[in-house]
Amino acid sequence: MQRIAVIDYGMGNLRSVAKAVEQVAPDDEVVVTNDATMLASADRLICPGQGAAADCMAALNAASLAAQIKDMVGTKPFLGICMGLQVLLTESEENNGVSCINVVPGFVKRFDNPLLDEHQVRLKVPHMGWSKVQQRNNSKMWQGIDDNARFYFAHSYYCEPDDPAQIAAVCHYGHTFAVAVQQKNLFACQFHPEKSANDGLQLLKNFTQWDGEPC
C-alpha cells in the first residue's frame, strides 16, 4: 500500500480528485492534506486547484506549500491538475501578473479576446467542455489512452512552457497550446482527469502506478 497525498490549499474541488483516485487505486491510502510531515511521507503528490491565480498562489504561500512543492518536485511522482499546472510555471498574466512557483519555466497567458478560429469565427472563452488531447510524447501516463481522446476542460488561461520538449500534449482551440507538461517525474495537465470519465480515470490510474520514468 502506498500513500497518495492530495495537496489541500483550500482552492477547489479536492474531494472529486480524491474520490477518483480512490476509485482507481482502492488498495492505496489517499489523503487530502496540507500537513508538511504527511506530504513528505507520501509516495505520490497530486496538486489540484481551481480559481484565480492570485488567490491560489496566496493560499500556497500562506501555508508555505509553494516552497514545499518546489523542494519535493523531482523527489517523487507529482501530478498537477488545472491550476495545479499553472502555478508550476514562472508567471501568470492573470490578476495583472502573478509570480508562480517556477519549477516549469514559462508563462501562463489568457486566450485572445476575441479568440477566433481559422475561419474567423469567434470561439467562446472559457474553453469549456471536451476537447481532443493530442499526445506529444510516449509517456507512461498515456498508457491505455488513445491519441486524440477527449478530456474535460474549463479554463481561460493556458500555459506556454519555455522548453517545447516538456510539452506532453497539445490541444487546438483557436490556436495550438500545451495542455500537459512533463519534466522527469512531474506530469501536469490543464484538463480535469477526475471529470473526464474513463480516459480520465485511466490517466489517474497510470499516475498511481507510474515509476516516474519519463517514458
Partner: protein, 257 residues
C-alpha cells in the same frame, strides 16, 4: 474543430430523490440520484445538471449529500442549481463535489453575488441561469425579458442586456431557458438563444422546449448554443443520450462519441 458540443441531461431533485414532473402537476419519483446519474454517464452524457426543487429550506442539506454521493461515483462534470443565495452556498456545493454552481433568482436580486462568487471560486465555476420570455407584441421586433419564480414574476429586465451584464460580472457560462417553450416540446426559442450567444464571449447552454433530436441540432446550428440541456426526452426514455449524439454526429455536429 476541437471542442465538442455538449449534451446535458437535467435532473430535478426533491428532498434527495430524482423526480419527473409530468405536465407540471404530477411529480413522479424516478429514483436514486446516484443510479440515474450513473446511467447517464454510461450513456455518454457530457455533464449532468441537478436542479434542487426542494421547497422546504430545512431539507436543503439533503442536496449536499446528493452531490457528495454522485461525485464519489460519477466522474463527469456536475452542475448544481436551485436555492443558491450566497457565496457560502456556492462553496458548500463545490466542496461537496460540484464543478459548477448555477445562480438564478439570487443574481437578479443581488447581481454583486455573481461578481463576489466568481472572484472567490473562479468564473469557470459560476453559471448564471436566465429564464427569458418573449414580451414583444406580434408586429414588434423580438424582445425578451427576465422572469423569476419559475417564469411567474416579470422583472422588466431585458434578457440580452442582462446576459451581457452577467458575463461582465464574472459568469463563466449562461444557462438560458425559454419560459415560453419550457415543457412544450416544440423546440428551443432559437431567437433569444442566438441573440444572447452573439452578445457574449462565454458559452451558452440552451434549454426549454426540446421534443426531438432535430431540436438539439437546431439549438447548436441556428441558436449558436455551445451545449444543449434537456430533461423529459431523456427521462421518459424517448431517446437515449447516445442516440442524440449519433444523430448530431451524422449531421456534422462535433460531439464526444
Amino acid at each position: 474543430m476541437g471542442l465538442a458540443k455538449r449534451i446535458i441531461p437535467c435532473l430535478d431533485v426533491d428532498a434527495g430523490r430524482v423526480v419527473k414532473g409530468v405536465k407540471f402537476l404530477d411529480i413522479r419519483d424516478a429514483g436514486d440520484p446516484v443510479s440515474v446519474a450513473r446511467g447517464y454517464n454510461e450513456a455518454g452524457a457530457d455533464e449532468i445538471t441537478f436542479l434542487d426543487i426542494t421547497a422546504s429550506s430545512d431539507q436543503r442539506a439533503t442536496m449536499v449529500n446528493v452531490v457528495e454521493q454522485v461525485a464519489s461515483e460519477v466522474f463527469i462534470p456536475l452542475t448544481v442549481g436551485g436555492g443558491i443565495r450566497e457565496v457560502a452556498d456556492v462553496r458548500r456545493m463545490l466542496n461537496a463535489g460540484a464543478d459548477k454552481v448555477s445562480i438564478n433568482t439570487a443574481a437578479v436580486h443581488n447581481p454583486e453575488l455573481v461578481r463576489e462568487a466568481s472572484d472567490k471560486v473562479g468564473a469557470q465555476c459560476i453559471v448564471v441561469a436566465i429564464d427569458a420570455k418573449a414580451v414583444n407584441a406580434p408586429e414588434e421586433p423580438p424582445r425578451w425579458e427576465i422572469f423569476t419564480h419559475g417564469g411567474r414574476k416579470p422583472t422588466g429586465i431585458d434578457a440580452v442586456e442582462w446576459a451581457v451584464k452577467m458575463a461582465e460580472m464574472g459568469a463563466g457560462e449562461l444557462l438560458l431557458t425559454s419560459m415560453d417553450r419550457d415543457g412544450t416540446k416544440v423546440g428551443f426559442d432559437l431567437g433569444v438563444t442566438k441573440a444572447i450567444s452573439d452578445a457574449v464571449e462565454i458559452p451558452i447552454i440552451a434549454s426549454g422546449g426540446v421534443g426531438n433530436l432535430q431540436h438539439l441540432c437546431d439549438g447548436v446550428e441556428q441558436g449558436g448554443a455551445d451545449a444543449v440541456l434537456a430533461a423529459s426526452i431523456f427521462h421518459f426514455g424517448e431517446y437515449t443520450v447516445a442516440e442524440a449524439k449519433a444523430y448530431m454526429h451524422e449531421r456534422g455536429i462535433e460531439v464526444r462519441l
